[in-house]
Symmetry: C2
Subunit: 342 residues, 2 copies
Amino acid sequence: MAELNERKKQILAAVVEQYIKTGEPVGSKELIACTGLKVSSATVRNDMSELVSLGYLEQPHTSAGRVPSQKGYRYYVDHLMRAREIDELNRRLIDAGISSAAGDPERLITRAGEVLADLTKCASISKAPGGDSMLIRKIELVPIGVHTAMLVLLTSNGILKSRLCRLDAPLTSKLCEEFYNIVQAAILGKPASEINVASMQTVAVSVDGDSFAMLPLMAAVCELARSTAQSRILLGGSSNLLGHKEYGASAAELLEFLNKSEPITEVMRGGARPIEIRIGRENMYRQLENSSVIVAKYSVGGDDTGTIGVIGPTRMDYERIIPSVRYLTDLVGRLITQALEE
Amino acid sequence: MAELNERKKQILAAVVEQYIKTGEPVGSKELIACTGLKVSSATVRNDMSELVSLGYLEQPHTSAGRVPSQKGYRYYVDHLMRAREIDELNRRLIDAGISSAAGDPERLITRAGEVLADLTKCASISKAPGGDSMLIRKIELVPIGVHTAMLVLLTSNGILKSRLCRLDAPLTSKLCEEFYNIVQAAILGKPASEINVASMQTVAVSVDGDSFAMLPLMAAVCELARSTAQSRILLGGSSNLLGHKEYGASAAELLEFLNKSEPITEVMRGGARPIEIRIGRENMYRQLENSSVIVAKYSVGGDDTGTIGVIGPTRMDYERIIPSVRYLTDLVGRLITQALEE
DNA sequence: AATTAGCACTCATAAGCATCGAGTGCTAAT
DNA sequence: ATTAGCACTCGATGCTTATGAGTGCTAATT
């Protein structure tokens, strides 16, 4: 890659920042005004022209200003962006926003998504702790009525799920006992993703007892485990996207896309890096060609488990958003770890 | 209200139905084509003209077809609409859609909202059982670690909430015992809406014990009770609204509106009727002037407690949606009641 | 009195066209 | 390497005109 000289970098940075601010193609004069460069507009034009041939900028049409290309944004994010630390204001907003939820991991994730969406005016995506390292830590069966019980499941990551369960047969203390035996033998300490109806049936039969009466309980446990293992992705602030004029009518299509679960799961799958920034077509989906995705992992007790991020127009405020996402994921990871400490 | 003759009714109904189908103003010839009326277009024009002066129809401009006015929709819904029972197809779709969630009230509500949104291509709103008749039925404290416990709260309506709670002091069995004493004395059987920090403090002090160590538990219980009492309103399928062309750019504003919690709570507040249909400006909010709201209550064990409904353009398919909402709420009510039976 | 044919009229929409101006690219001078 | 100067491009804006769906009215018909 041909290296850019100082002034070209400065110009590229200014175009990106100005475009992010105004949303309008930026012209040579405007650029001089907003940077204070001590050169003439003709010089700037020459440089911009070169930046176009190098692929960092684009012109919507011959007589318009310049707009950053995908490559331009990439260069900006990788080399030109200054602020790499979150600023005071955003940090405080985040702290204040999620403090109320600090005790409970699930609420924390939800809240983190909401806060991030508000802060960035983008859509946020957040995934509760999950993955293969998530083990089942505790299962509790609480009798409610003769035929009803509630089941509570807790994982090693602090995710808590509960649901009611209706039994065909009366819930005797014997049945409870048998239930705990099975749980003890076949479920506790296992990864949530491994629990399924088939595997439990085998155990249910081996521990002798009324396996017929046990059926609804087993089914409910499986379902709880499944819903925990899948750890649904939360989409927050999606209506923020409608406010961005660059989407125009395609906002509807984008929202449609984000509301499907398969693609969004894919979108969140990060690589090895702790924070992933995908600009425009770097995303594998056509529907995201005008969007950027910034996702970061957070870890609970050393395991990488959850993800939080934003989706917004390529013309998003990277300089503010990237540090915010990074800070927020760190914070969430720390808070959850702390909540689970002995 | 001047009564309409048979033919005018027929014409009004046809305009409404045709407009609902196509979204275009309907003209006199088109109307003859789609009704098979045995009169000339001039006659239809005269009738339509009268329907305009009576306020049932509107013309966007002099040389356009007619569009139902709010009053027109109202008359249609009250007097002209034929199908008052859900049809086979929709019934099956609903049954199939929520069957998987039948055991657990909360999941049932969530699922009902999703199904309804899919079915109607509108946004759905659903509220879990709640209200003053909702009593706290059970509270469970399950120790997890030395400093952590999980709390589970069940209401008389089958709503189950759980969260983790972190304690400053170790969770001794004595503390547990004291906790249950307080719960027994001051919480069980009380309406969820009455539980608050102040009232609990009084009790915590009266029952002697380490009220300082108890604090986080009390706070968590209050928060659970509060979140249950408020029973957040679920908004589903809001992206469906973007597909309706009549909203155009104002769809963004509408979504924004729906994502605020105060107004939507107001929107759901029904009157005495089991099903409420509010068309256009019959809603108290400017943002809903082009929308209709159809909400119905469902009852659990005799008490009216929850609400499920749709929000969509005034030009929605009332004939299909109204029976669907009615059927769905009945079904949900029955299923929850059944799930809670002894 | 109700219905209908006929026709002039209205008005949103689209198409065509001149104008404007922000911003460019190029050339020649510094 | 930079800059002043200038012709050029092309979207945006605003105006005029043509089109046509659909109406409202009048006079004839049943």
